[in-house]
């Protein structure tokens, strides 16, 4: 098994995003049909939890139904690395995107997509980006887009302080400390 990564930064980030909603089937038996539907904006909830753990922001991507804006962002030479290092992402399209756009007060109609929103882990919207901010001539607006995202990166946290806080918590609660080292790549 080759899952242990070594300390060589990856040059290319290949996305492996699985945001497909669970479908339902008219021929399902009654028991299966009682399985609850995914919670609204489940991908956003998941991204927010991960962002909290990794000290990142959440990037909400509202994409047109016939496009994969997130994949395009992850392939862009300028944006891909900051996206991997600084954001947990959640992409939406269709009616879910429309509902989320309303909730986040993202400007534009459903046909004016893509649109992005940067959120903190409390769900506060830090930035709203329109199609013009994301695309230029149909392509990802690399540098200008990064310039708009950069002010919203999280401040780095100090690993020594994390460990010190964990020692205090462990002492108070009588637990051990499970330290996990990892990297965005």
């Amino acid at each position: 098994m080759q899952r242990v990564r070594h300390l060589v930064p990856a040059l290319v980030f290949v996305s492996a995003c699985a945001l497909a909603p669970v479908g339902t089937c008219a021929l399902q038996d009654p028991v299966e049909s009682e399985v609850p539907a995914p919670a609204p904006f489940a991908a956003l909830t998941k991204a927010t939890a991960k962002a909290k753990l990794h000290n990142k922001r959440v990037l909400v991507v509202l994409t047109p139904a016939d496009a994969d804006t997130l994949a395009a962002l992850k392939k862009d030479m300028v944006v891909s690395r900051p996206l991997l290092y600084e954001f947990e992402t959640a992409q939406f399209s269709g009616s879910e995107a429309n509902a989320l756009a309303k909730k986040l007060q993202l400007e534009g109609e459903p046909d004016q997509r893509p649109a992005l929103a940067v959120l903190d882990t409390d769900g506060k919207v830090l930035a709203r980006l329109s199609t013009a901010d994301v695309l230029v001539d149909g392509k990802v607006a690399g540098k200008p887009l990064l310039a708009k995202l950069k002010p919203h990166f999280c401040e780095p946290v100090d690993a020594e302080k994390k460990l010190a806080a964990a020692l205090v918590e462990a002492e108070q609660s009588g637990r051990a400390i499970f330290v996990r080292f990892d990297a965005p790549w």
């Binding site: 000290n55 100090d158 051990a176 400390i177």
Partner: protein, 118 residues
């Protein structure tokens, strides 16, 4: 992979009950790499790498599986999962019972088995 496992409904509350979780990003966290190097020392292995400390900061066990010393990383194989459970067993103290550890053991098997290549 481990992150996803630790969020499972069976394991998550038991893990929280027994351990203070600390995630250190060696690339993004200030002093992340230094802390990693200090705690890991000369041991082999890349990332993810794990270590369990007591409340005084003394090492109890690491993800370098005994006796060979290879880093298990995100546990998937039978051997890796067994060592991960050994890590928990050695460090669980009185907060998590042996029966509760068995629940985690069963949970990681259920999680890891479909992900094995063999």
């Amino acid at each position: 992979m481990l992150e996803e496992f630790l969020e499972r409904p069976v394991t998550s509350p038991l893990y929280t009950k027994g351990w203070v979780d600390v995630m250190i990003d060696v690339d993004r966290d200030t002093h992340g790499k230094e802390v990693n190097e200090r705690l890991k020392g000369e041991r082999s292995g890349g990332l993810p790498w794990m270590i369990v400390l007591d409340s005084k900061g003394k090492e109890i066990v690491s993800s370098n599986a005994e006796p060979k010393g290879g880093n298990i990383g995100g546990p998937v194989t039978v051997e890796e999962c067994a060592w991960f459970c050994t890590m928990l067993d050695r460090s669980r103290g009185e907060k998590v019972s042996a029966a509760e550890l068995d629940l985690i053991r069963a949970d990681i098997e259920a999680y890891a088995k479909p992900r094995r290549r063999e």
